[in-house]
């Protein structure tokens, strides 16, 4: 049975969503989009009220925001006792080793699978290579399991051989309908022509109102620039793979 989760970073849209099995709440590609505890706790309580699982999603973590995220995780664990937390930064993973009440999930930015937005003619050898589900080799997944990891996550999974998850004791989630192809700290929505970027400590989050598409003959689909992320809409043909090997799909309704 495949579980359907929705991934949000604010509660504004939750009431409008269709039925879902679980809530993912937080941010992954941008630390500035990470909600604070004042937003996380109502989201958690809403899940408790509806008897639905809650997963906190944490982003990549620059040193300047590390203390803030450490405090957030420490306070969060005091309030909820146990929870699943998606990590997209090995430093936060390391920090979470000291918070055993939290179950780490290796997020889509850390699993490092290739996303196939470029129009490349791949040989069979290349296809086989890039079908590798990173971190799912029995050797490394065993090591992750010892550190409390229960689940790996990937973007759309285009070109991946999902069957590799069967060789591990881990579960697999897939995000839809957008993949994060790259992340920059030089956010176009935060650029100031006079002084460059000043948003490394805090940010006005202008990305929420600004999305542009970049087209190029070398790409199979337009790149979608959303703040500091470049996204791709997922490719077709995943249905069968998803049905048989993935036990959780994460729908990302407010990606754009």
């Amino acid at each position: 049975m495949t579980e359907w989760a929705v991934f949000l970073n604010n509660l504004d849209s939750i009431a409008k969503l269709p039925d879902y099995d679980a809530l993912y709440f937080g941010a992954d590609y941008c630390p500035h989009l990470m909600p604070g505890l004042a937003e996380i706790i109502p989201a958690y309580e809403e899940c408790q009220r509806l008897d639905r699982p809650f997963t906190l999603v944490t982003p990549l973590c620059f040193e300047v925001v590390r203390p803030r995220f450490e405090s957030l995780l420490a306070e969060f664990v005091n309030l909820v006792q146990t929870a699943e937390v998606v990590v997209n930064d090995w430093g936060l993973f390391e920090y979470m080793q000291g918070l055993p009440q939290l179950t780490p999930v290796i997020g889509r930015l850390l699993t490092r699978a290739k996303r196939f937005g470029q129009a490349l003619s791949l040989s069979e050898t290349d296809k086989s290579h890039f079908a590798t589900l990173p971190l799912a080799h029995p050797h490394i997944s065993g090591w992750l399991k010892k550190l409390g990891v229960t689940r790996l996550e990937v973007d759309s999974g285009e070109g991946l051989d999902f069957r590799q998850i069967d060789e591990t004791n881990l579960k697999l989630s897939v995000y839809l309908p957008y993949s994060v192809v790259s992340v920059t700290r030089y956010c176009s929505a935060a650029y100031d022509p006079e002084c460059g970027w000043r948003n490394y400590r805090d940010c006005a989050k202008a990305c929420r109102e600004n999305v542009i598409y970049l087209a190029n003959p070398e790409l199979t689909r337009p790149l979608i620039v959303k703040g500091c992320a470049r996204l791709l809409e997922s490719g077709p043909g995943l249905d069968k793979e998803l049905e048989t090997n993935v036990d959780r799909l994460i729908f990302w309704p407010d990606a754009l």
């Binding site: 290579h129 920059t184 460059g196 202008a206 600004n210 087209a215």
Partner: protein, 313 residues
């Protein structure tokens, strides 16, 4: 601080040493690798052969000459991940490179690090920026894999670099100082670097299609990247802060660049280091901006500066 220079031909060694290079890094793609796999899944991040040695005899000659010159050579094996079939060949090749006198390996993949450790290979591991260390805990995390030296990604501020190095006194750290500036946080990017003219998807020309809510400022910011000669990127004005932050290696980008470009950049960094000794701290940034303009015939810009958060102007 030592200058770490890129290398892809033996003939480059002596001119680069004369220009100021203290250490070297190179890639190697073996004929056996190409027979069994492809250059797209090359053992290092560069998916085109011009960036790597492809002949073991020439790599041997380079390693031998560098040994004579007393300069270390590090080999890049910095793929984000390998397929299961690639690891045995990688380990075999690492044994060969160790015999050649290669001083260390620049790696990014966990499993390779674990396999090296478990196979008893006594080699020095340096972490590539493709395994991005954005905070102090991540550096500590990788130290558990036996990493002794870390190349920090381009996207950190000097304040963050200082905090990371201070929290990890048993590790040494390199930063990029000149050459190709990557817009993206390297380890969080999954683009292929395969375009024959070496124009990567992060800087290619695009038709920009605004959505209805887009603003002119966002479009302008995107177009600036497309026009940016990123191979002229530079972090010289931060040298003083980097030295105080206990950075030991200054990495020059561009394994596949022409020798004249490598020399120009190494000389520029060498001059910057000399100025650090002779220039008052309050004048240093201005001096570096003048040096940059003299060298490249153009001004620096936020897109070209490695440390734009700190006010390149």
């Amino acid at each position: 601080m030592r200058i770490l220079a890129p290398l892809n031909h033996t003939a480059e060694i002596d001119p680069l040493i004369e220009a100021g290079a203290d250490e070297f890094y190179a890639g190697y793609v073996s004929p056996l690798w190409l027979k069994r796999f492809t250059v797209l899944s090359s053992p290092n991040r560069r998916a085109f052969l011009a960036a790597s040695f492809t002949d073991l005899a020439e790599l041997t000659a380079a390693a031998t000459l560098l040994k004579i010159r007393g300069k270390p050579l590090y080999l890049t094996l910095n793929r984000a991940f390998y397929s299961a079939a690639q690891y045995p060949l990688l380990l075999d090749e690492i044994r060969v490179f160790k015999e050649l006198g290669v001083s260390g390996f620049i790696v990014a993949d966990f499993e390779l690090m674990l396999l090296i450790r478990e196979s008893g290979l006594d080699v020095s591991l340096h972490l590539s920026s493709l395994a991005p260390v954005l905070n102090a805990h991540t550096a500590a995390f990788y130290e558990r894999f036996g990493v002794k030296r870390i190349t920090l990604p381009r996207s950190l501020t000097t304040e963050e670099i200082n905090s990371i190095t201070a929290a990890n006194p048993s590790l040494s750290f390199d930063v990029f100082i000149g050459g190709g500036k990557c817009i993206n946080v390297e380890g969080y990017c999954s683009f292929f670097h395969v375009n024959p003219d070496r124009s990567w998807p992060c800087v290619q020309d695009y038709a920009v299609m605004p959505q209805t809510r887009s603003t002119a400022a966002v479009l302008e910011a995107e177009l600036l990247w497309q026009q940016c000669p990123r191979y002229l990127a530079c972090g010289l004005c931060a040298l003083g802060k980097l030295e105080k932050a206990r950075v030991t290696g200054l990495k020059v980008v561009g394994r596949s660049a022409r020798l004249e470009n490598k020399l120009r950049l190494v000389r520029l960094v060498k001059k910057g280091l000399a100025s650090l000794e002779s220039t008052a701290a309050e004048d240093f940034c201005k001096t570096m901006l003048r040096l940059y303009e003299t060298t490249y015939g153009r001004s620096c810009s936020p897109q070209l500066c490695y440390y734009p958060y700190e006010g390149f102007r």
